[in-house]
C-alpha cells in the first residue's frame, strides 16, 4: 500500500501561526474522526455521534469547524504550541513544517515491535513573515483567511476522492486502527511531527515525535 501524501503551503504572520495550524489540522481531523465504537455481539458495532463546533479566529478572517471534543482540541493545541515555540526559538527565517500522519499498527511477533504503517500524511509548510505596520497586518489578515479557505477546499477535494481507508476493524483490532483513548470521539490513529528549516533550507535536528499509542519496543 502506498502512503498518500499531501502538502499544503502557507505564509502567515507570527501571531497567526497557531490559528492557521489549528484550522487545517482540525479540518483534516474532522474528516478522519468517527463516533465512538460500541461493539455488541460478535461482528456488529454501533457508532456514536460526532458533534461539531464553529471556531472564529482572532487574528485571521476565518472560521473553521472542528470536532466537539475538548480532549482532542487540547492535544492538537499542545502540538501546535510546541511547533510555534520551536519556530520562535530556532533563530531561523521562520520556515517550518508540521505533519499530521495517519497510520495503522500491524502486530508483529515477538521479539519484533509493532509496525506503524502510515496510510496518509498531511504536511503543512509554513513560512512566517514579519509585518511593519497595522495596515499590512490588516491586509494579511484577510489574505491569509482567503488562503486558508483555499486550503480547506483542497483538503475536502482530496478526502472526497475516497481513496484508501483502513477497513473497519473487529473489536480486537480496533486499537490498531483508531485512537480509542478519547471519551467522546474516535480519530484514526495519528501522530503529529514537525521540522524546522534553517536559513540554508536544510532540515535541522529538532524533530520531536509524539506518539498517541504506546509503541515502545519490547
Amino acid at each position: 500500500m502506498n502512503c498518500r501524501s499531501e502538502v499544503l503551503e502557507l505564509t502567515v504572520e507570527a501571531r497567526q501561526v497557531d490559528e492557521a495550524m489549528l484550522a487545517l489540522l482540525h479540518t483534516i481531523l474532522l474528516h478522519r474522526s468517527t463516533g465512538k465504537f460500541h461493539y455488541k455481539k460478535e461482528g456488529t458495532y454501533s457508532i456514536g455521534t460526532v458533534g461539531t463546533q464553529d471556531i472564529d479566529c482572532d487574528f485571521i478572517d476565518f472560521t473553521f469547524v472542528r470536532v466537539s471534543s475538548d480532549e482532542l482540541d487540547r492535544v492538537i493545541r499542545k502540538a501546535v504550541s510546541e511547533f510555534k515555540d520551536a519556530l520562535n526559538n530556532s533563530g531561523s527565517d521562520g520556515m517550518g513544517q508540521i505533519s499530521l500522519e495517519f497510520y495503522q499498527k500491524k502486530k508483529s511477533r515477538w521479539p519484533f515491535s509493532d509496525e506503524c504503517i502510515p496510510w496518509e500524511v498531511w504536511s503543512i509548510k509554513v513560512n512566517v513573515v514579519n509585518l511593519a505596520n497595522e495596515q499590512e497586518r490588516q491586509i494579511c489578515r484577510e489574505k491569509v483567511g482567503e488562503k486558508l479557505g483555499e486550503k480547506v477546499i483542497n483538503v475536502v477535494e482530496v478526502i472526497n476522492r475516497h481513496e484508501y481507508l483502513p477497513k473497519m476493524p473487529t473489536q480486537s483490532e480496533v486499537d490498531n486502527v483508531f485512537d480509542t483513548s478519547l471519551k467522546d470521539v474516535q480519530p484514526y490513529l495519528y501522530k503529529i511531527t514537525y521540522q524546522i528549516t534553517d536559513s540554508l533550507g536544510t532540515s535541522v535536528s529538532t524533530t520531536m515525535r509524539r506518539l498517541i499509542k504506546d509503541t515502545l519496543a519490547l
Partner: protein, 417 residues
C-alpha cells in the same frame, strides 16, 4: 441500474439519500443563520443522528425541504438546489444531485453511508469558507440572508478533456431535462450553469411587498435558545437511522439498531405555496410570445399533453394565491392571465424596416426586449389612485403651511429678481 440492487439495499439507499438531502439543507441553512453552531459529541448512538453527525433539525427548514421534494427523492436528472441570496443577488447555490455514474460494486449500507457522512463533514467545512458566510454572520438590521429550495431537472455531461502542457481543457455541458417556457429576461442573464436557475428576484413593481416566492429568511430564532442546544426537537417523528454496523462487509445488513417510528412518505398532496414550482416553470396557460421563438429551447410546444398533465413541475394542481414574478414580467397589464393557449405556430419573426438580412436580430432583439415591458408602478390603478387620494387629503395642510411662511417665499422671490 436498480435491477442489481436487492430490495433491502434499494430501500436503504433511498432512505440514505432522503436523509442526506434533508441534512444537507440543514447544514447549509444553519451555516447562514449568522451564528456559530455548536453541537455535542455523544459516545452513545441515539438513532436519530443520521450519518453519525450531530446536526440539529430546524423544523421549518425540514418542512420547506420536504415541500420542495414533494414526496420524491433527488434522482438522476432531478436535483435539489438550495439557493442562498441577499435579496437582490444570488450568493451561492448548492445542488444535491444524482448523476448517471453508478458504482455497482459498492455496498449500500456500509460504504455509501460512511461516504455520505464524510460528504456532510466536508459540507460543514466548506460552508464556512465561502464569502457568503462572512456576510451571513453580519446580517441583521441592514439585510438578511434568504434561503429557498428548488428542485431542478437538469443533467450534466462531461464532453471531453484535453491535456495541455500548461493545464487541462475540460468541456462539460449542463442541459435542462424539463423544458418550460422562459421569459426574455432569463436570457439576458449570462451566468454559469447555476444561472440556469432563473433569477427569481425580478424587478417587478410590487411596491413595498417583495414577491411571494423570494425565500425564507435565515434568521431562525427558536424560543429559549441556549448555547449548544440551539434548536428544539423535530416536529414530526423521524425515521431512526442505522446505528448498527457489521464488521464484516460480507454479512448482510443488520437491523438490530434500525426501527421505523412511523414517519410515512408524503402522500403526494401538494401545498399551494410557490415552492412547489420548479425554478423556471410557469403555468402552461401563460402566453407564449413569438418574440421568444428564436431563442434556445424557445420552440417549446406541448409535445405530449399526457406528459405535461402528469408532470407536477409543469401542471401544478392548484393555482397559487399570489402571482409569480415571472408572470408579472410577461404581462404589461399586470398579473392577470389572459386565456389559455394550447398550441402556437412558429412564425419567422422579421421586424419591419429591417434591411440587413444577415443580422435581422438586432432590430428583432430590440422588438422582443421592449414588447413586454414591466408595469409602471405609477400607472397601476390601485397604487396611483391611492397616492392621488393621499395627495388630495394632505393639500389643505400644505396650503396652510405655505400661507404661514408666505413672507419667506416673498423674500426668496425678491432675492432672485
Amino acid at each position: 441500474m436498480d435491477s442489481d440492487l436487492s430490495p433491502q439495499d434499494k430501500k436503504d439507499l433511498d432512505k440514505f439519500i432522503k436523509f442526506f438531502a434533508l441534512k444537507t439543507v440543514q447544514v447549509i441553512v444553519q451555516a447562514r443563520l449568522g451564528e456559530k453552531i455548536c453541537t455535542r459529541s455523544s459516545s452513545s448512538p441515539t438513532g436519530s443522528d443520521w450519518f453519525n453527525l450531530a446536526i440539529k433539525d430546524i423544523p421549518e427548514v425540514t418542512h420547506e425541504a420536504k415541500k420542495a421534494l414533494a414526496g420524491q427523492l433527488p434522482g438522476i436528472g432531478r436535483s435539489m438546489c438550495v439557493e442562498i441570496s441577499l435579496k437582490t443577488s444570488e450568493l451561492a447555490n448548492v445542488c444535491v444531485c444524482l448523476s448517471c455514474r453508478c458504482d455497482k460494486d459498492i455496498k449500500v449500507s456500509y460504504t455509501v453511508y460512511n461516504r455520505l457522512s464524510l460528504l456532510l463533514k466536508s459540507l460543514l467545512a466548506i460552508t464556512r469558507v465561502t464569502p457568503a458566510y462572512k456576510l451571513s454572520r453580519k446580517q441583521g438590521h441592514d439585510y438578511v440572508i434568504l434561503y429557498r429550495f428548488v428542485v431542478l431537472g437538469f443533467q450534466t455531461v462531461r464532453v471531453g478533456v484535453v491535456g495541455t502542457p500548461v493545464g487541462t481543457v475540460t468541456l462539460s455541458c449542463a442541459y435542462r431535462t424539463n423544458l418550460a417556457f422562459m421569459s426574455n429576461r432569463q436570457f439576458e442573464r449570462t451566468a454559469p450553469i447555476m444561472g440556469i436557475i432563473v433569477d427569481h428576484f425580478l424587478d417587478a413593481p410590487y411596491g413595498s411587498q417583495p414577491p411571494a416566492n423570494m425565500g425564507q429568511p435565515c434568521n431562525y430564532r427558536p424560543p429559549g435558545e441556549e448555547d449548544g442546544g440551539a434548536f428544539p426537537g423535530v416536529e414530526d417523528s423521524q425515521e431512526v437511522c442505522t446505528t448498527s454496523f457489521s464488521t464484516s462487509p460480507l454479512l448482510s445488513g443488520d437491523d438490530e439498531g434500525l426501527s421505523h417510528s412511523g414517519e410515512g412518505r408524503s402522500d403526494g398532496r401538494r401545498d399551494e405555496g410557490e415552492e412547489e414550482f420548479g425554478a423556471f416553470v410557469n403555468k402552461p396557460s401563460t402566453q407564449i410570445t413569438t418574440a421568444s421563438l428564436d431563442l434556445p429551447f424557445a420552440a417549446f410546444a406541448p409535445r405530449g399533453l399526457d406528459l405535461e398533465d402528469k408532470d407536477p413541475m409543469v401542471q401544478p394542481p392548484d393555482s397559487p394565491p399570489c402571482p409569480s414574478p415571472l408572470q408579472a414580467s410577461l404581462h404589461s397589464q399586470g398579473s392577470e392571465e389572459s386565456g389559455q393557449q394550447d398550441d402556437f405556430v412558429m412564425v419567422d419573426f422579421r421586424p419591419a424596416f429591417s434591411k440587413d438580412d444577415l443580422l435581422p436580430m438586432d432590430l428583432g432583439t430590440f422588438y422582443r426586449e421592449f414588447q413586454n415591458p414591466p408595469q409602471l408602478a405609477s400607472l397601476s390603478l390601485h397604487i396611483s389612485s391611492q397616492s392621488m387620494a393621499d395627495d388630495l387629503d394632505s393639500l389643505p395642510e400644505k396650503l396652510a403651511v405655505y400661507e404661514k411662511n408666505i413672507d419667506e417665499f416673498d423674500a426668496f422671490v425678491d432675492m432672485l429678481q
